[in-house]
Symmetry: C3
Subunit: 133 residues, 3 copies
């Protein structure tokens, strides 16, 4: 079974879609997700304290700052905006896939795990995540 989820983003950040996945799965098996873009990522992270998300964003913004930052002077691919090449870098560092076991129609996530789309671009985007089970 294949499906596609569309997620509207409004700038850099983590967008949880765990519940949309629960609506799609049933029985027992393995749900595999694949994000069809090269400037956003999938991520499983803690869904309890929102400060975790703030800190993750801050860490990755420091690791791959905008092309306008002096540390990124070496970048060549800058024509699509100062946030574009750092977005490709983050998309290389973070997952393009996730695979989550399903039992009794429920994702077998750990207690603190939520499923997120991690948007790396500043402008709003419509992101497509392909699902396979």
């Amino acid at each position: 079974m294949q499906f596609e989820i569309e997620i509207a983003t409004r700038g850099q950040g983590l967008y949880e879609f765990t519940e949309q996945l629960h609506d799609r799965v049933s029985g027992e098996g393995l749900l595999t997700l694949f994000v069809r873009h090269t400037s956003c990522s999938l991520l499983i992270q803690e869904n309890a304290d929102p400060d975790v998300q703030t800190d993750l964003l801050a860490f990755f913004a420091r690791l791959a700052p905008p092309a306008t930052d002096s540390r990124m002077r070496y970048l060549r691919h800058v024509s699509e905006g100062p946030d574009d090449m750092p977005a490709h870098i983050k998309a290389a560092l973070l997952p393009v896939n996730l695979a989550i076991p399903v039992r009794d129609g429920r994702l077998r996530l750990g207690r603190w795990q939520g499923v997120y789309l991690f948007e790396h671009r500043d402008a709003p985007h419509r992101r497509r995540v392909a699902g396979h089970m």
Copy 2:
């Protein structure tokens, strides 16, 4: 077929469990692993020279040092200890999943590849890895 492996950790480090996986698989297929936590990771790495593991630990400790390090002053999520938010960062950077082809009841790993749980917390933990084949 689904199963769960429990791995007891004693602080930050790499814990190999390749042999426990060989005990679980048979025939031909794809073994998918999923770690049900947000402060440890799965990793395939060289199992020959133990210095590789020491160096990997050192690299990630420098990339995401404890919250007590002056470079990490921006972190907000510090109430669960100085090793907690760096653990979430490492859990974002390193795999939550692995998928390994199986043939004739054997994992088709390369000659130097071992399967590890990478613990990012200082305190002992019991970690659960879900398997699907």
Copy 3:
């Protein structure tokens, strides 16, 4: 269905093999790839502007420079050459697996996505990628 693709590399860089995958898949399902090495990676990235690949290489060369760089003085595993331990670090940071949905015999990649082997070693290598569908 399992298969293996061999890719000859000539030093650090991204080697696209999207078309070789299209030759292997048919019908509907999920193609899973697994690289059988600990010093190269798989990667999905933009296949439009070649500067993206140049910038990715530059970013990772700065993040994990050769053992001869003063910032990497702490490395112990240096007997296999100054590019070897940085290769293991990059192999930890970048994917060992990819899973791509297939429909009507085509990989359901996004418009700008290509599938690459990311070689981290300087010397030529023959790399083996296992496929499962």
